[in-house]
């Protein structure tokens, strides 16, 4: 359960530049939410608030009854392990293989070698990269790279997946692959929040759609939402 209460963020401590302006949102567990809006509307900001890369200037964000602003900084890594993140530019390590990229996420959280050996091939199998364990990112197609990034996001068994323009660098076919994967993850019970401005993708998903414009929620289609700005 995620709650945004009257959230306002500013840019670079300058009160005159507001990114989000009084956003109120309620997201239930297991929902699939598409957040749409033109570039600069504040979609990414909304996602970055949840991982506490940034903090709101006013208002509060409540995740499972906990106000994110009150999490001490040494507990932020724990918050981030509950949330998997996927980016437009994949953020993969080019010098590491597919296996190592996912293993890396487990290593920095202190998983031991045995867990890694079991979990990583399993998760790569789920995203359809079971035969590419030893491939480097430059040997993968765009869609495969994004699926690898999703595998990495899933490795901590997060309850929430944030996807920031995951199809932004992909062609239509690959985009559908990635979206299908996200929907599959959602069906297994994970909350998915997808920020995008890809009309076809949003219309194909047909779930809750929230439109943001100039930092405000302008439309919230709870069911079978379409791409409307």
């Amino acid at each position: 359960m995620i709650e945004f209460k009257n959230v306002t963020t500013i840019y670079d401590n300058d009160e005159t530049i507001e990114i989000l302006n009084g956003v109120n949102l309620n997201i239930k567990d297991g929902e699939f939410i598409s957040i749409i809006g033109p570039a600069g509307a504040g979609k990414s900001t909304l996602l970055r608030l949840l991982t506490r890369e940034i903090s709101p200037h006013k208002g509060e964000i409540i995740l499972d009854g906990v106000n994110l602003a009150q999490i001490p900084s040494n507990a932020i890594p724990l918050l981030r392990r509950k949330i998997g993140t996927v980016y437009q530019d994949f953020k993969l390590l080019s010098a590491k293989t597919a296996f190592e990229n996912v293993a890396f996420a487990m290593e920095v959280c202190g998983a031991d070698r045995d867990e890694i050996e079991i979990d990583v091939p399993k998760i790569l199998g789920i995203v359809g990269l079971g035969d590419k364990l030893k491939s480097f990112p430059h040997q993968l197609s765009g869609g495969e790279k994004q699926r690898l990034a999703i595998a990495r996001a899933l490795i901590h068994r997060p309850r929430i997946i944030l996807a920031d323009e995951p199809t932004g660098n992909l062609d239509l076919v690959n985009s559908y692959d990635v979206v299908k994967l996200l929907m599959k993850i959602n069906e297994l019970g994970t909350t998915v929040i997808l920020a995008t401005h890809n009309r076809e993708v949003v219309n194909a998903i047909g779930k809750r759609v929230i439109s943001i414009e100039k930092g405000k929620v302008v439309r919230d289609q709870v069911e079978n939402g379409k791409y409307v700005l």
């Binding site: 890594p77 724990l78 918050l79 953020k91 920095v108 202190g110 901590h156």
Partner: protein, 305 residues
């Protein structure tokens, strides 16, 4: 979850892997640290040589008290024991008339003119004297004042302090200057060394900025992210220390005779060999401390969020 031993192992493994994978950068960083540690070793050598020069100069300074011919040996011995009671006096050496003559003859052994002239004399023309060495060169003036007020003052013919006074004063200025400037120079160069190391390590870590960012985003705790870089920094320092130790001793061995020919009795190599158990750990300590501290400061910037 892993236990402490496993995580220590992992931290060292990751640190070592980073060190290997970025071999080009590692070599650069280690190279800079080698130079820095050489600088430190050089400064240590310079400080040692300067202190040897100073103590050599101070060793040469003394005050001789010459006695009149009618002073008896007992009286002179009493002056000697009076002087030895002074805390500022390091030692007093008595040179009798005969000793003085013998030394004089020895010194001019090859000079037939001097030998012949001495043979002509019936009486020993030289005076008995006391050679006084102070613990500290600045104390000669007070020792001389003490002698002037002594009850045997009438037996004293002359005190050569007045001739040596200027030389003593100059030695004092030079040794003071050497120590002060040496200290300043050491501090300034040490500061430069620290800044250079810090910047080099910072560049190395900057090249792994992306990895650090991703580690943060996938929920690595600060300590888990930081520790391998601290280990990596320490490895640069330790490797540099190994290189410096291996190279420094042969270099000192070759330079040492050249210095000895300029400054007799000063042996650089035997100084560093006899202090090997202080010198080598010190170099390792400085190297590792520099590497770890630089990494620590450098990585803080990337862990802000």
């Amino acid at each position: 979850m892993e236990n402490f031993q496993e995580s220590a192992k992992r931290i060292f493994n990751v640190g070592w892997t980073n060190f290997k994978r970025n071999s080009y950068l590692s070599m650069g960083t280690t190279g800079v640290m080698v130079l820095v540690l050489f600088l430190f070793s050089g400064l240590m050598s310079l400080n040692y040589l300067a202190s040897q020069v100073v103590s050599g100069l101070e060793e040469k300074v003394d005050v001789s008290v010459y006695f009149k011919n009618d002073a008896s040996e007992e009286e002179i011995t009493m002056v000697k024991s009076d002087l030895e009671l002074l805390g500022t006096v390091k030692n007093v050496e008595y040179v009798s008339k005969d000793q003085a003559l013998n030394e004089f003859k020895e010194r001019h052994a090859g000079d037939t003119l001097v030998q012949d002239s001495l043979a002509e004399l019936d009486e020993n023309p030289l005076q008995a004297s006391l050679n006084v060495k102070a613990g500290d060169s600045s104390q000669y003036a007070s020792i001389v004042t003490f002698l002037e007020g002594n009850k045997f003052r009438s037996l004293v013919d002359k005190i050569n302090f007045y001739e040596n006074e200027q030389v003593i004063a100059r030695v004092l200025t030079i040794s003071g200057g050497l120590q002060n400037w040496g200290f300043l120079l050491t501090m300034a160069l040490a500061l430069i060394a620290v800044l250079v190391t810090f910047n080099t390590v910072r560049l190395t870590i900057y090249s792994q900025k992306q990895e650090i960012e991703i580690m943060r985003l996938v929920g690595g705790s600060n300590w888990h992210i930081k520790a391998p870089y601290l280990v990596e920094g320490g490895m640069y320092g330790a490797l540099a220390a190994v290189i410096v130790t291996v190279m420094f001793y042969p270099i000192a061995f070759f330079i040492s005779p050249k210095i000895e020919s300029l400054m007799p009795g000063v042996s650089l190599i035997s100084y560093f060999v006899s202090n090997i158990f202080q010198f080598v750990p010190l170099i390792f300590f400085i190297g590792i401390l520099l590497g770890v501290t630089s990494s620590f400061v450098a990585i803080r910037r990337f862990l802000k969020i």
